[in-house]
């Protein structure tokens, strides 16, 4: 299972990086979203895979998932949305000002 999870994260990172290096702003947004999935998952799996139940403090600490990475990732997901929204707004503004959706505000020569 570890291999499966690692491969998944690796695929997401590779796809995210590639898209972030594209010249159009929309691709950068997509790439950043994929990359943040990967990073969130990486932090989440810092709690390892052997959880049997959600982190509810009902029956002792045995077998329940590690709550700390989950708390970290939860806010990260929401902030990720805020960042995507802001990035999108910036992209639109650039489009409005420079009439192109190239990330540098100008087409390459």
């Amino acid at each position: 299972m570890e291999l499966v999870v690692s491969a998944g994260i690796g695929v997401l990172v590779a796809a995210g990086l590639y898209l972030m290096l594209r010249p159009t702003s929309f691709s950068v947004v997509l790439g950043l979203t994929l990359l943040s999935y990967a990073v969130n998952a990486l932090i989440f799996f810092a709690g390892r895979l052997n959880a049997e139940s959600p982190p509810l403090a009902i029956g002792g600490a045995n077998g329940i998932a590690d709550p700390l990475p989950q708390a970290l990732v939860l806010t990260a997901i929401v902030i990720g949305f805020g960042m995507t929204a802001y990035l999108v707004a910036l992209a639109l503004r650039t489009k409005g000002e420079s009439k192109t959706d190239h990330v540098d505000g100008r087409e390459e020569a």
């Binding site: 499966v4 994260i9 590639y18 969130n40 403090a57 009902i58 709550p67 959706d101 990330v103």
Partner: protein, 902 residues
């Protein structure tokens, strides 16, 4: 300002009694920086000058500046400047002194650039800032070293350790650094050039900068640190020489100026040179003379500048070749101007005479050159005196007499009564001091000089008449020589024009400045190509490189750790397959944007399912809701971007990027694998054990968020709010053209079935979110999830009914809700202070409302409510703003299908 002066006078008694008042407020003790103020004789003298002359300047400026100018801004700047100047002279801590020092540089920059429409005012301000600010940096270095050597940044300690500082090997470095800072501020040669140019400022500002403030800060520093730094040969050589050169150079150039403000500016440089020279002479009596001359110069120079301002104001020009014979038009102002100029020249019975006389005495009695040239210093002093007299005469004779004015823009007459009043007051003091020095200034000079020397005062007496002696002869020789020199001035002008036509450091400064600006622009262009792609590439390459390096340097670099592997289950394998398809699809179709979004939503879904599979229902709920709003957000954007992105130019770059991406992916995968196969120690045990007893909830994730790590969460929702506000600001007033082919039909956009179905769904969804919110403390849910669910529900109304439909029903301002949410969250934290607990402590109890089960209420719930509101407002703000773009879009080509009403 008057109030401050009153306070100062109330404190005067203790100062004259010789005590040092120190007020201390601890600020940054670990840096040795306290907010410590000190009032001793020297500080008192300067504070009195700053406040007293400042008060007169304020009155004067009210008449000088035209009504339509924004006087509010002027006074705000002037008072800020005066306050920072006061800070310099009253600081006990030298770091604090430096802080105020820099503030005077900044505020004087703004004052000089007051007429910012004028090009030369901006140049002048920039130059003053560059020189004095640069001097401040040098001074910072000097002060830090001084503090290191003395072991304290407090003046009391530093002044007491003069011997130790002077014998330290670092002493020459400290001295030169401190002096460079002081000389830049006090316009000493060769850093003097900013001062004459700075007269582009309005005349009240010049009067203030030149007399009691700014340039006096430099000599104040010399006086302040005199006990710590002075008394060595190096001090004598550097301070004395600089002062002497500046003294003569300023006086020489002053005579050549046709602009009378220019003449006064160079005379200021010259007098500051004199003060510096006096400090440089290294005898107690010369320091007393320096302090005395600081007072006298401040008074006569302020009155001269104000008189000059009156003449400028009345004549509309400052050229002395055109302004002549003013005595006839404004006799009162003329008398005042003549008296002040007489003091500048050192005419008996005026205050300037006294301090100049003291200087002559010092020149005669100084032993430094006694060996080889006993007459060198007296001769030099007399020569310099000749020059000062000459330019003073030029000012008086050219402006007030010398025939008739030459085509002035307006006819001059006496200024308003109260505009002249400040000048009258100052000239009154000039006379008073000149005639009765001991009575008027004896006491304050004594305490100020004592504070400067921090030791025994030399025996001296202020008197007009010291008997017929060599200094008196020198005075009269200077006056006679000055007259002669003035009469021969035309010959001098000719000589100067022939041999030294461009004696101008500003030009050199500008040239260097421009060259430096060009150089740094070029350097920046080398590093920063203004390309996001390049930056990201570099960033990724370095991240990869560092990661690889870290892995290499950790010796046992086996990827596989000691944990036994978990078995692969079919769901996991299928998930991975779906994930790969999703990610690959996003990449492959990223240029067909709609398709890419669909593929990406597959990835988001798989990630949510992963969270479910590995015991994180909170995360799954959050991810799912975020997924929905993100997709809506991206779809909204698509309206303004063409459906397909243009193809890229080079295949080579694509493959380079692909290699980098694959390496990154491989690195991340191996990192994950290495982490997952290693055992770990978690700190979560504490959270799990204490969640119920201390936080009152069983959902540990939520308790961590709102209780254990509540402060982090507060920061996080603040970031979220900032992102939303940033988006709000970025989109302000933006109007975009929808790309050709975007939907324009009302009917297409809002299917009736969906609209009908969504309306009853809203209350249901809201009820669910309330439930999720309330149970969040104990079961998966909480403010974040509930907020997202509410936002999704409301977003659906927008999707179904259209933005006009929804906007007319949801009448609330998202920005306000955002603020309310932050306010509630912070308020909850602050409320715990009321109970004497640390920020964001929580408490809880159980209540039993009718009809439902026993129910727990925790103060953390109020915090969670704040989180909820911020999340709802943030999501809605983003979607409404982006959706709202379509309402103010530019109409595309009118040839497209026109809008039809359904």
């Amino acid at each position: 300002m008057a109030a401050a002066l009153a306070v100062l006078l109330m404190l005067a008694r203790s100062t004259f009694a010789g005590t040092v008042l120190i007020a201390r407020q601890v600020w940054l003790p670990e840096w040795g920086l306290d907010l410590a103020l000190r009032l001793d004789g020297l500080g008192f003298l300067f504070a009195a000058l700053i406040l007293g002359i400042g008060l007169l300047i304020v009155l004067y400026a009210a008449y000088y500046l035209p009504e339509e100018d924004r006087l509010g801004r002027f006074y705000a700047l002037l008072l800020a400047f005066a306050a920072s100047m006061l800070g310099i002279v009253l600081s006990e801590n030298i770091l604090l002194l430096l802080v105020f020092w820099e503030i005077t540089s900044l505020t004087s920059f703004l004052l000089i650039a007051y007429k910012h429409e004028a090009h030369d005012a901006r140049i002048a301000a920039r130059m003053a800032l560059a020189v004095t600010g640069g001097g401040g940096l040098v001074l910072l270095a000097g002060i830090l070293l001084l503090g290191q050597v003395a072991g304290s940044f407090d003046l009391s300690d530093i002044l007491a350790q003069g011997d130790r500082i002077r014998s330290d090997p670092l002493y020459p470095v400290i001295l030169l650094l401190v002096l460079a800072g002081a000389f830049a501020k006090s316009a000493q040669f060769p850093l003097h050039f900013w001062l004459p140019i700075a007269m582009a400022a309005p005349t009240p500002v010049s009067a203030y900068l030149h007399s009691a403030t700014m340039v006096k800060a430099g000599v104040f520093l010399l006086a302040r640190l005199y006990p710590a730094l002075a008394g060595t040969d190096l001090w004598f050589a550097v301070v004395g020489t600089t002062g002497a050169v500046t003294f003569v150079y300023g006086a020489y150039v002053a005579l050549l100026k046709h602009d009378f403000k220019g003449l006064l500016a160079y005379s200021t440089i010259s007098h500051l040179g004199l003060i510096t020279l006096l400090f440089g002479l290294n005898t107690p009596m010369s320091a007393v003379a320096a302090v005395f001359h600081i007072i006298n110069h401040a008074i006569f120079k302020a009155s001269l500048f104000m008189a000059a301002g009156i003449i400028d104001h009345e004549c509309g020009t400052r050229d002395m070749r055109r302004i002549n014979g003013m005595f006839k038009y404004m006799p009162r102002t003329a008398v005042l101007g003549i008296l002040a100029a007489g003091s500048m020249a050192g005419v008996p019975l005026l205050n300037g005479f006294l301090s100049k006389e003291m200087f002559f005495v010092e020149a005669v009695e100084n032993r430094a050159f006694q060996g080889f040239a006993p007459l060198l210093l007296p001769a030099f002093a007399t020569a310099a005196g000749v020059l000062s007299v000459a330019y003073s005469i030029r000012f008086v004779h050219d402006v007030f007499f010398n025939g008739e004015p030459v085509d002035l823009p307006r006819t001059p007459h006496e200024p308003p009564r109260w505009m002249r009043f400040p000048v009258e007051v100052l000239v009154g003091i000039v006379l008073l001091v000149g005639i009765m020095p001991q009575v008027s200034l004896g006491a304050i000079l004594n305490v100020a000089a004592a504070a400067t020397l921090q030791g025994e005062l030399p025996d001296f007496k202020l008197a007009v008449w010291h008997g017929f002696n060599l200094p008196l002869v020198m005075s009269f020789a200077a006056i006679a020589g000055g007259m002669l020199y003035y009469i021969q001035r035309q010959r001098l002008f000719d000589l100067h024009d022939r041999y030294l036509p461009n004696l101008s450091s500003p030009v050199a400064f500008e040239r260097i400045y421009a060259a430096m600006a060009r150089g740094s622009a070029r350097l920046l262009a080398l590093v920063d190509r203004r390309s996001l792609q390049l930056h990201l590439t570099l960033f990724f390459v370095f991240a990869l490189g560092f990661g690889f390096w870290a892995w290499q340097s950790a010796a046992p670099a086996s990827l596989k750790g000691s944990l036994a592997a978990m078995p692969v289950d079919p769901w996991g394998a299928m998930g991975l397959a779906a994930l790969v398809v999703g990610a690959a699809g996003t990449v492959a179709y990223h240029r067909q944007r709609l398709t890419a979004i669909i593929f990406m939503s597959v990835v988001g879904l798989i990630v949510s399912l992963t969270f479910v599979r590995f015991g994180a229902p909170d995360l799954a709920l959050t991810q799912l809701s975020v997924e929905v709003v993100t997709i809506v957000l991206l779809l909204l954007v698509l309206r303004f971007l063409p459906g397909e992105a243009p193809a890229e130019l080079s295949a080579a770059r694509k493959s380079r990027n692909a290699i980098l991406a694959l390496l990154g992916g491989a690195g991340a995968a191996s990192l994950t694998y290495a982490m997952l196969t290693r055992p770990f120690e978690t700190i979560s045990g504490y959270h799990i054990a204490n969640s119920l007893p201390q936080g009152g909830g069983t959902n540990v994730v939520n308790v961590i968020l709102v209780d254990f790590r509540g402060f982090d969460t507060l920061g996080e929702i603040a970031v979220l709010a900032m992102a939303a506000l940033g988006l709000h600001a970025v989109l302000q007033g933006l109007r975009l053209e929808p790309y050709a082919g975007a939907a324009t039909s009302e009917a297409d956009r809002h299917p009736v079935m969906l609209a009908m179905l969504m309306r009853p769904l809203l209350p249901l969804a809201l009820a669910v979110s309330v439930y999720i919110f309330l149970r969040g403390h104990n079961l998966p849910g909480g403010g974040f999830v509930a907020g997202l669910i509410t936002a999704v529900a409301m977003t659906l109304q927008y999707v179904a009914g259209g933005i006009d439909f929804a906007m007319s029903r949801f009448k609330f301002d998202c920005v306000r809700i955002l603020g309310a949410g932050l306010f509630i969250a912070t308020g909850t934290g602050l409320a715990s202070w009321l109970f004497g607990a640390p920020f964001l402590s929580s408490t809880f109890s159980y209540i039993e409302p009718p009809f439902i089960e026993k129910f727990e209420i925790a103060s953390a719930m109020a915090f969670d409510l704040g989180v909820y509101l911020v999340v709802v407002a943030c999501v809605l703000l983003a979607l409404i703003e982006l959706g709202g773009l379509s309402r103010r879009e530019l109409s595309p080509m009118q040839s497209g299908p026109t809008e039809r009403k359904s």
